[in-house]
Every structure is written in C-alpha cells, then in structure tokens.
Point group: C2
DNA sequence: GCAAAAGTGTTTCTTATACACCCATGG
DNA sequence: CCATGGGTGTATAAGAAACACTTTTGC
C-alpha cells in the first residue's frame, strides 16, 4: 500500500501519520500578543515665545475585569488559532488606535510560568511607534478605556559588586506613568551577572502601582529598546509627522534619550537622513524654521 | 458575603472569578523552544607551519519521525506547562550537548500559522554560543543523531527598486550546511520595503534542501544576529576557550563577519576586552604567541 | 635560511565634541 | 529692542583605516 513512500517506525507514511496525529497530548499554554505603542507629543506652551515641550507617551487600557481589575495594562489579547502573531498584534493595535499602517517590531517573548493568575500565558510583545499628528486625526474616540500616559523612566540606584571571576551589576529604575486622572508607578530591578565569559541579565518588578501583570517590565524593556535603536537607526522618524523642523526632531531624540544634545552636532549627525523642503513654520514668535522630511535613501552611500 | 472586596460586573470577587475561569475557551497553539547553538572550531592544518582554519558550526538533529523525517532540524521541543521558555531551551540544550552553563539569549519568536503540518506551532528561538574546547571535553557521545554542520552563508543577489515614497530592497542568500556525510542548503529571500517612514522586512524560504520546517530562516536570522552583536559587544568571547591567542580571536571575528581584518587595527579595537597572561603557545612551527583571557571589566571606563 | 606568524609603529582620514558666533521674527 | 529659537563655522580630540616594518620560532 505504502510502496515508494517514506514510512516511520510504525510503518506510517507522512499522510497517515498526520491524519492520526493527536495535537492535544500535552497541556498547552495560552499565547497573547501585547503591544507597546509610543508616541511623542507636545505639552502646553509656557509663553507665546517658547516652543512646546515634548513628552514620551504610552497607550494603556484600563482593565474591566479580574485579574488586575481597575489597573492599567498594555493593549493586547489572545492570538487566534488562524492568525500569525504579527497579525494578532496589528489587529489589537488597530482596535485601539484605528490606525492601520504603523511601524511595528517584535520586542520580546515573556515566558515565565506565573505571569498570569488565570493560567499559563506566554506573551509575545511588540513595539510600535506613531506620530501624534496622525493619531490626532484618527482619534480613538470610542475610547473604551484607552488612555495615553506620559512616561518618565529614571535610573536611581546602581551597585556593582566585584566577584572572583566577574561582577554583579544591580540597577534600580523608577518608571512613572501619568495622565490627568491617574498616576502609576513601578520599580524595576535589573541584575547583570558576569561570571567568566557568561553574562546573564534578569529583570524583576519590585513594586508595581496600578500597572497590571508584569507589564511594567515590558514597558521598561521597550524603552530600553527604543533608546538603543534611536542611536544607530532611523526609527525616530516613525515618531515624526511628514514635515518637521530639525529642532522638533532633536527634541524627540532628547526626550527619549533623556539628555540634552548640542544643536550643531545633532544637525550634522542626522543631516543625510533628512531632506529639506521649501516650506517654513510661521507665527512661531521667533524666526521661522525650515521644514524637513525623512530621506528614505540615506544609507545608500554607506 | 463579598463585602469590602472588588467585584466585577457579574458580582464576582477575584478569587471567585479565578475559581470559575475556563482556560480552554479558545483553541490554543503549541509552543516550542528551539535553540541555535554555534561554535567555532578548527579545520585540519595544511602544513606544520600554517595555523588551522576556523569554521563556524551549528548543531542539528536528524528527525526520526514525520514530518520532515530524515531531514535536519534545530534542537528543541515543546515547552512544558510548568517551565519557563528559558528553562525549556536550556533543558533541550543540555540534553543535546550535556553542558549546563552556556551563553543563551532569546532570538525571535516565529508565529506564522502554517509552520508545522501537524498543528499550529509557535516557536521561541534562542541563540546559544559555546567554545569548541569545552564541547570536546563533554562530548555528546550518546549522539542520537546530533551532528555539527559547517556553516556557509553568502549574499548572492541584491536588487533595489526605487518607488515613489521609498524603495524595495530584495536580497537572496545561500545558506549551506555541511558535514562528512550530509550537505544541506537553502535559499532565503529577504525583502525590505521602505514606504515613507514605515519600513518592513520579511524573510522567505525559496528552497530548502534537507533542512526541516522553517529552520533555515531561523538559522539565517541567528547568523545575522551573531554578526551584528559581535561588532559592538563582547559576545565573541563566548566562542573562545579560557585562554586564547589574539590571532585565534581575530579568526573568530573573521569567520563570523566573513571578511579579513587588519591585525594591528583589530588588536587596538579589542585591546581592553582582554588581559594578557604569562603563558605562551609552543611547538607552533613559528614564533610562540602570548595567551590572553577575557577581561570582564572592559567597559568600566566607558 | 626561510616560511609563517607575532607583534608594534606611523600616517592619514574621518567623526565626535565643545563652543562661539550671527540671523530673523513677533510682540 | 529683545527674548527665543534658527542656523553655521571652527578648533580640538578621539577613533578608524591602511600600510610598513621588526621579531621570533621550527624545521
């Protein structure tokens, strides 16, 4: 019957094997896709002259049911059996922001056993970036309970212990998320243990006020990823509108990296990632500035 | 009864909610942890004078059952319900190499729908590195059907199409995996589509000879990760034994990056990542060279 | 002696960093 | 006129890249 076909030790061909396969031999975990979406938007102007300050914001959803009822969580949900993880993430994102075509990259997959009190849940997290102007247009007015929170993320303690074959570096970060009504916070500990050649970094939530599950850790990881990518890639432009001034671009870099940059040097650094247009800002209370757009071909020469 | 406790819209407290929770409302995917383990080892010497050539190797397992029976796959397996993804990966790795304490980092989670003909399988992949001397000692002699394959990975076609708002960059890579008995190969296409600010990269297997599932894609991704990390971190030392010569270290960089490096410049670049010892090689057929070890504190000054 | 590799020095070019200066606008 | 930001130049330091040369061993 099975002439000419490869059979396994039970004498089954691939078709026969697949037809008989029992996919439920083992207990399976649930899988979710969670999305961190960041944007940078303007605070109120202090005077007619000053430029508005930029702040980094993250979108969170208020939980309407147990567990962590009333607390805030990253948008996300269970991956359906017939959609890829990317599709699940994009679907959840669209449900919350009603935007289709956002930048999105896989961040990390969180696989600890006790992440969720309901059951074993593995969460694939995605990092997404949007510019605030596009978000304004497609305002998610249905806004079940989705809100943007201003992000503050600071290192406040660092400790290094030297061991025989390496060292242990412990850092404490304070994450604060804030909007008009709520103020959430968390303390995250990262431990980098170097022993010989092998180094391991672990993250732990020491305190989490108002942030559901282990999402404080995911947000922390997302900020770190954003910081490192902005330095050597063009991701920052996903946070910019079509047209922008170089100072606006610089402010975005500054708010993400949490440092001040020198104007002249910054402009040289990003020079070939942008193209100038013939348009200018107006009514700014000071000299108008030229508007630029992203130059997708900037790394051609490199 | 439920005084003082938060209840949801059905009047349930968290305890009651969790007790009643049905974790099997939706069909769940299976989750595996797969590991790419790389090592760099010596080829035969050509003459008593010449140094042995270094080659990059990856560990694969011959599949003993359907699907892809007889083909080669990355070591890995289903994540148990009571172990984290890291634990699952480490367990699988130990089963194959009998080494405990290897460098391991999460690589990427593959979530496409049709990755496995048996059922929906999501695979969290991990990248691991080992030095060949340690591997030699703890030889995995039980060797069910685990074998090391020499890796060759080359770009052989590149095509750029400029569009209105960006470009499409298509690249074809040839991956070849080889040992004494088998010669596997795959062609992988990566498409980077830049449109406005948003860029997307997709990977596709055009041809896969002898490599099971989508594992050719995972290996390709692992090589890319290894290449980029070796340039700006100290991961390379995970491929080195305790003591090594600077030329050996340079060979490891060269085989991974697939380029030749200038000796003097290379030595300046890695100078503060290594510490010299008082030991030397001998009987080399040429001038003996000083042995170095990894300096875990190299980034202190930065 | 000589092949092969070990090991170091010099020159040049490119980037990064810090700082100083002038320009244009709206109230 | 002046606060505020727009925009550019210059000088110095640090780093990357290319090349040249000397030293040491085993056979």
């Amino acid at each position: 019957m099975n002439e000419g076909k490869i059979t396994n030790k039970n004498g089954l061909t691939e078709e026969q094997f697949l037809a008989a396969y029992n996919a439920d031999k083992y207990e399976k975990p649930s899988v979710t896709a969670d999305i961190i979406i960041f944007t940078v938007s303007d605070e109120e102007k202090e005077s007619y002259r000053k430029l508005p300050q930029k702040v980094l914001k993250v979108l969170l959803i208020k939980r309407g049911d147990h567990p962590y009822m009333g607390q805030w969580a990253l948008p996300g949900g269970f991956a359906q059996i017939d959609e890829s993880l990317e599709e699940a993430a994009a679907r959840e994102l669209k449900e919350e922001t009603s935007i289709d075509d956002l930048y999105m990259e896989q961040l990390y997959t969180w696989g600890d056993v006790a992440r969720d009190p309901r059951m074993r849940v593995i969460s694939a997290s995605y990092l997404s970036l949007a510019d605030s102007k596009t978000l304004d247009i497609k305002a998610n007015d249905d806004a079940d309970d989705a809100k943007w929170f201003t992000v503050s993320y600071k290192l406040f303690q660092e400790q290094k212990t030297v061991t025989e074959k390496g060292y242990i570096l412990t850092r404490l970060f304070k994450l604060e998320l804030q909007n008009e009504d709520d103020r959430l916070s968390a303390i995250i500990k990262t431990v980098k243990a170097v022993e010989g050649k092998v180094s391991k970094t672990e993250r732990e939530i020491l305190e989490s006020k108002g942030i559901a599950f282990d999402h404080a850790k995911i947000i922390e990881y997302g900020i770190e990823r954003l910081r490192s990518k902005i330095e050597y890639t063009d991701t920052a432009f996903n946070l910019m509108p079509e047209l922008f001034t170089l100072t606006e671009l610089q402010q975005v870099y500054e708010v993400i990296l949490d440092t001040e940059l020198l104007k002249a040097n910054f402009r040289r650094k990003i020079a070939d990632m942008v193209t100038e247009t013939n348009e200018y800002t107006k009514d700014a209370g000071h000299r108008p500035s030229k508007l630029f757009k992203f130059n997708a071909n900037w790394n051609d020469t490199k």
